[in-house]
Symmetry: C2
Subunit: 349 residues, 2 copies
């Protein structure tokens, strides 16, 4: 089969690799119908995270089950499935607590599984799925071409935005600020709107992204950043700040902006992967009672709830995909995101 | 009148000072019936916070209203009242949000009020109370001598422990760890028990404090600290960690112990004043989804709810007072806490 391999900085290639096979009785083989590029894939692409050897890449995909191992009981060949960005058993204590990203059998795509066997990346034609009953969620029916992007968004980006909103305690009537206008930040706007937020202030400097933010429910847009952005937000909120600040970037500056935007007693929900490990100013949190919650999103647990709304047509998270290319052009999918020509790139076989 | 003045490291004196008077139409004068020494008073006493000039001290007191200004409408002379450790209007947006310690008119005892007029400390015979209708809470009746310590505990320590528990999301059945066995830590044990925690692990090395922790509802005691303490906690919780870790110390080490004790997706509730400003390890929080919430406790808002249980006799937070001395011996009240001979000292006129 063909699959994407990253060789180094700005060097991704579609290559011929061995077809995956069932290696464990709990495995499934999925034929990928759509996959995509994540903002976090760009870390390796840009050389922020060093690529020490050619590696399979991609962790967001949906597709059709081709084959299952003898111990797979929930997932059946022919089903259309969503694979979340991490592999889990969905039965351990942490999964039962809703924190699937801390599964005791946690594993990652393009790495190794719970038995140290190599795992496929999502940006390919087929994927061996370990612990298929735990990892995969079947859709009610095969999605139409129109619905496909929104179903694909369930693999990571919509669930991650939802996690930011849930972690910040967004509820009906909440005033919300979203820091970050990438695919996750835009998804967080949609998630906040879905949870009933009364006001959603999107921090965005890019006109094309502002358009999506508005479609997703943003009531106000602030283009300024840092202290200037906070000052504008304070003006919009009568000097109070917001109930919930959704941090969807992962830098020290964006976290500071989130902390400064929250009202006393408000909450920051953070899902931006902390770049370089900025530490949190605990004295500011102490004096303001602004809490910080969030982390790597337990998307697996959110998929059933969010999928119901995707199939009901009440949310359209696939709107974040503004570029679709064939898998053969995966290099362009990365380049377009790297150069900010695309918010998020979808790949079709 | 007589009031406590701190002159420098380990130098507190009871001195004669001017009697307080109504300075603003919203003031009240309270005759102090009982006051106490806070762990945070020891910071100045020990020289951790420098004392640059002789200053009035003490921020926890209860007493009887002697006189009120013409604009005071809720509080009446003759009432027995609890004064929380900070002064607030109880009407601004932050007070309405339950964050009285971020009141737009916030002021402190032994400092200056919202109009920059000097405020009395609580460790004296009388106190001028600014914004009396906002700051003070009247009790249903004058407390008996037996009830007095528990009513006094409402001024700070019980509400602060309660804030740790609330911030960590303690609910019926929660597994809780409490880091810190000072008066606040012990109060947090009681608060967790009151909220229905299923299991409460108290970290305590001092036998006398372990006794109180058990009385307050601790089901397990761990004497070890740091990594060793965490290892024992993990053994007690089948390697999972606790739902809620209540950080009641304020050092980098105690915060780390709290973060390491929480299960994935669990919460740290922190009320320990951050000594020196330890920063929080955001990458650990990200990978574990452990949230950190809390801060300076908005005790004013909690008093009515907690007072009802104190008067009903279902909680006895005054148990943290294990030394009672007359105001004239305030120096001994400080020394006993400084030398860890007492958990918390109560002062009677």
């Amino acid at each position: 089969m063909r699959a994407t391999v990253i060789h180094g900085t700005r060097d991704v290639r579609l290559e011929t690799v061995p077809d995956p096979q069932i290696l464990r009785p709990t495995d499934a083989i999925v034929r990928v119908v759509a996959s995509c590029v994540c903002g976090s894939d760009l870390w390796q692409y840009r050389g922020v995270n060093e690529v020490t050897k050619p590696s399979r890449i991609g962790h967001e995909f949906v597709g059709v089950v081709e084959e299952v191992g003898p111990q797979v009981t929930q997932i059946r060949p022919g089903q259309f499935v969503v694979a979340p960005f991490s592999i889990c058993d969905n039965t351990c204590v942490h999964c039962r607590n809703g924190v699937h990203t801390s599964c005791t059998n946690l594993a990652w795509w393009g790495s190794t599984d719970q038995d140290d066997l190599p795992t496929d990346g999502g940006q390919g034609e087929f994927v061996r799925v370990p612990m298929a009953d735990g990892t995969l969620v079947a859709t009610p029916e095969h999605p139409s071409d129109e619905l496909l992007p929104s179903v694909l968004a369930l693999a990571d980006v919509f669930g991650t935005g939802h996690h930011a909103a849930v972690s910040a305690g967004v509820k009906v009537g909440s005033t919300v600020a979203v820091i970050g206008d990438g695919a996750v930040g835009l998804s967080a706007v949609l998630a906040a709107q879905r949870l009933g937020a009364g006001r959603i202030i999107a921090m965005s400097r890019h006109e094309s992204r502002q358009v999506v933010a508005r479609e997703f429910g943003a009531t106000d847009i602030i283009a300024a950043r840092g202290a200037e952005g906070v000052a504008e937000l304070m003006e919009l909120t009568d000097g109070v700040g917001v109930d919930c600040a959704l941090e969807c970037v992962g830098t020290k500056e964006s976290m500071q902006q989130a902390l400064d935007s929250a009202r006393p007693g408000g909450k920051v929900g953070f899902v931006g992967v902390p770049a370089g490990g900025p530490e949190l100013p605990v004295r500011q949190m102490f004096s303001s009672n602004v809490g910080v919650n969030g982390g790597v999103a337990p998307v697996r647990g959110y998929i059933p709830e969010l999928m119901a709304d995707v199939y009901a047509g009440t949310v359209n998270p696939g709107r974040v995909f503004d570029l679709t290319v064939p898998l053969a052009e995966v290099a362009e999918a990365y380049a377009a995101m790297d150069e900010r020509r695309a918010i998020k790139s979808m790949l079709l076989p």
